[in-house]
């Protein structure tokens, strides 16, 4: 067994690390404070090819692999969790389902713009009455002539309301206990993007509730097989969870970077606080847990690359990577604030932002409870 990255993976990581440090990180504080969407950074990431990273060249992808993509998400999230989630949601939730299940026409129409980062596509699974129990979808789509007529609502949808949002893939009931996925382009009649939420963190990312009020789209906008929606989103979330794991590792690493740098400078009782064993042990635990979380993400990512049809084994690894990495990031954020003392509670230091940003990593794309349920099921308990 060899944990060496390939030349390409290492180059992607270096490129994203440089870009994150030089371009993303300096903008993060202002984007957070002003709740601004990073249009310029998204454009530049698009030009670099990050939005097309794990896809083939046929539709304008870069021909990289899934692990390289995870490395990119980690490095970008390390600088700004909101920008990181914008990339992750655009690729794993937006483009990937179209790439994996779309028809030739759907792919050639939509993917070139999405993979170049010129447009963003969203994924609308969660509803007001269907979150963890995503199969409890109430949104309905009925065929009327050659059109789907959609009624219902979606909750907390990332990348749905930016100036460059091109549409959303929703899950909807197309019959009794029959869930299908449908592509709803922005501007479809009856499709309403409501006011953004006032979030605790991820301020530079875009999240809206969506309403479908007799919304009409062509019949050909069905994504994949009719009734295949449930299986499709399980598949989509498997890849998404590994990428969220990578996002969490990035955030955890940012916490360690900040805490270590601060501890080396800060003096108390006449010495740098890194001289106190209580502080050293916190930093050592953070470093160890981050390494473990990263290893689990890499393991899940390589498993996913080998078996993209998401076997039970890969689904379990994805759940473990997402769960362990997000809880690691949460602990790291907590300790990073603790090591900063009172200054950690002040927004002049980035750890305050990390602490606000990290909580949702234990919730989005399946809560920690849901991940534990999945793992328990895969190991034969329950």
């Amino acid at each position: 067994m060899d944990f060496q990255l390939t030349d390409e993976q290492a180059a992607v990581r270096e490129l994203c690390r440089d870009f994150a440090r030089e371009v993303v990180a300096p903008a993060a504080e202002k984007l957070d404070r002003e709740h601004e969407f990073p249009y310029d950074i998204v454009r530049r990431m698009g030009e670099m090819g990050l939005f097309g990273l794990p896809f083939g060249e046929q539709y304008g992808g870069a021909g990289g692999d899934f692990l390289a993509y995870c490395l990119a998400v980690e490095e970008i999230a390390r600088a700004d969790a909101g920008v990181g989630i914008t990339l992750e949601a655009a690729v794993s939730l937006g483009a990937a389902p179209i790439h994996d299940f779309g028809t030739e026409e759907q792919k050639s129409e939509l993917l070139p713009d999405l993979l170049a980062g010129r447009r963003l596509w969203a994924f609308g699974l969660t509803e007001p009455e269907a979150g963890s129990d995503a199969g409890a979808t109430r949104t309905r789509a009925e065929l009327s002539g050659t059109e789907w007529v959609i009624n219902g609502a979606k909750q907390f949808i990332t990348n749905s309301g930016t100036r460059i949002s091109a549409g959303v893939t929703i899950t909807a009931l197309t019959g009794p206990r029959e869930i299908s996925a449908i592509l709803v382009p922005a501007g479809s009649p009856g499709y309403h993007i409501l006011e953004p939420y006032r979030k605790l963190g991820w301020h530079s990312s875009d999240t809206h509730p969506l309403a479908f009020d007799g919304c009409r789209v062509p019949e050909a906008n069905l994504l994949g097989k009719r009734g295949g929606g449930y299986g499709q989103f399980l598949h989509t979330l498997t890849g998404g969870r590994i990428a969220i794991g990578a996002h969490s590792v990035g955030l955890a690493q940012a916490c360690l970077d900040a805490a270590l740098a601060y501890a080396q400078e800060r003096k108390a009782f006449g010495k740098a606080i890194t001289q106190f064993q209580a502080v050293q042990f916190k930093l050592a635990d953070m470093a160890m847990e981050i390494e473990l979380a990263r290893t689990l993400v890499w393991r899940a990512a390589t498993g996913y690359m080998r078996a993209p049809e998401s076997s039970g084994e890969v689904r379990k690894l994805a759940a473990m990577a997402k769960l362990y990495a997000s809880e690691t990031a949460k602990r790291c954020a907590d300790q990073a604030v603790q090591i900063h003392g009172g200054y950690g509670f002040i927004e002049d230091y980035p750890v305050a932002r990390y602490w606000r940003d990290v909580k949702i990593n234990e919730i989005g794309e399946g809560t920690s409870e849901v991940q534990r349920m999945l793992i328990a099921r895969e190991i034969g308990a329950g």
Binding site: D7, E8, A10, A11, V12, E14, L15, D18, F19, R21, R44, E47, M48, G49, L50, G52, L53, A62, G63, G64
Partner: protein, 253 residues
């Protein structure tokens, strides 16, 4: 136009630095393409885009210096030459210049671009030696480069402005950080770099011998610690005068 850019791999400026017991720079840590050489690559690519031609990267270093070349190739350079040989470990500036010159001569470039000084060794001696060995005119510390026909013209950075200097090609130019913002590689560039050629050569391929070191580092001393500054408390009456007195003593006013 055939352009050679010299590129060196150096310890990551963002990581902690150290020296080995023989006063060479510790290399057991993260290494990166010298940020200064990224400017050279960028300028090479800009000239190539304007005039056509080829950008060749030449580096001397251990096996893993190939990563520095790869980075430049993913930015858009066409191919690379890696000079690596156990005998070159700890090479001084002259041996470095001889090795680079031998590899570059074989390419007969129109233009050689170097950074003004490296991030780590930073002697600034390699480019001038290289120019001598290649028998090329050298135009140093350029913040702008123009090539027209067989003439290369630079704006040479000085303390209070710039000089316009020109020479016939083939010539060697050293560039400063101000010259152009290095581009980020693209993912396509990274993938394309996979199939670009990096030729590896050793001392015998270049037909040179190691010889005696021309330069030995005898000792490395810490820079003298800066004296604490003088604090002038403004008690509302004498602050300004005291500050003026300090500034006059320091001859800044």
């Amino acid at each position: 136009m055939k352009i050679v850019v010299t590129v060196k791999q150096v310890p990551d400026p963002n990581a902690t630095q150290g020296l080995e017991s023989d006063n060479t720079i510790a290399r057991d840590r993260e290494v990166v393409l010298d940020p200064g050489d990224e400017y050279g690559i960028e300028e090479g690519l800009v000239l190539k885009e304007a005039q056509g031609g080829e950008v060749i990267l030449v580096s001397m270093g251990p096996e893993r210096a190939r990563d520095a070349i790869r980075k430049g190739l993913s930015m858009g350079a066409d191919r690379g030459i890696l000079i690596t040989d156990e005998q070159l470990a700890g090479a001084d500036a002259l041996l470095t210049a001889k090795a680079l010159a031998a590899a570059i001569k074989a390419e007969s470039p129109d233009l050689v671009i170097c950074a003004t000084e490296s991030y780590d060794g930073s002697t600034g001696m390699v480019p001038p030696m290289l120019a001598e060995l290649l028998d090329m005119p050298q135009l140093t510390t350029a913040k702008q480069v123009e090539v027209s026909g067989s003439k290369v013209t630079i704006h040479r950075q000085t303390e209070d402005g710039y000089q316009v200097v020109e020479a016939e090609t083939p010539a060697l130019v050293t560039v400063t950080a101000g010259i152009a913002e290095p581009r980020y590689a693209s993912l396509k560039g990274i993938m394309a770099a996979r199939s670009k050629e990096v030729k590896q050569v050793g001392l015998s391929d270049l037909g040179i011998e190691k010889g005696e070191a021309a330069e030995t580092v005898l000792a490395v001393n810490d820079a003298e610690a800066r004296q604490a500054g003088e604090v002038v408390e403004d008690d509302g009456s004498v602050g300004v005068e005291k500050i003026m007195a300090v500034l006059q003593t320091a001859k800044v006013v």
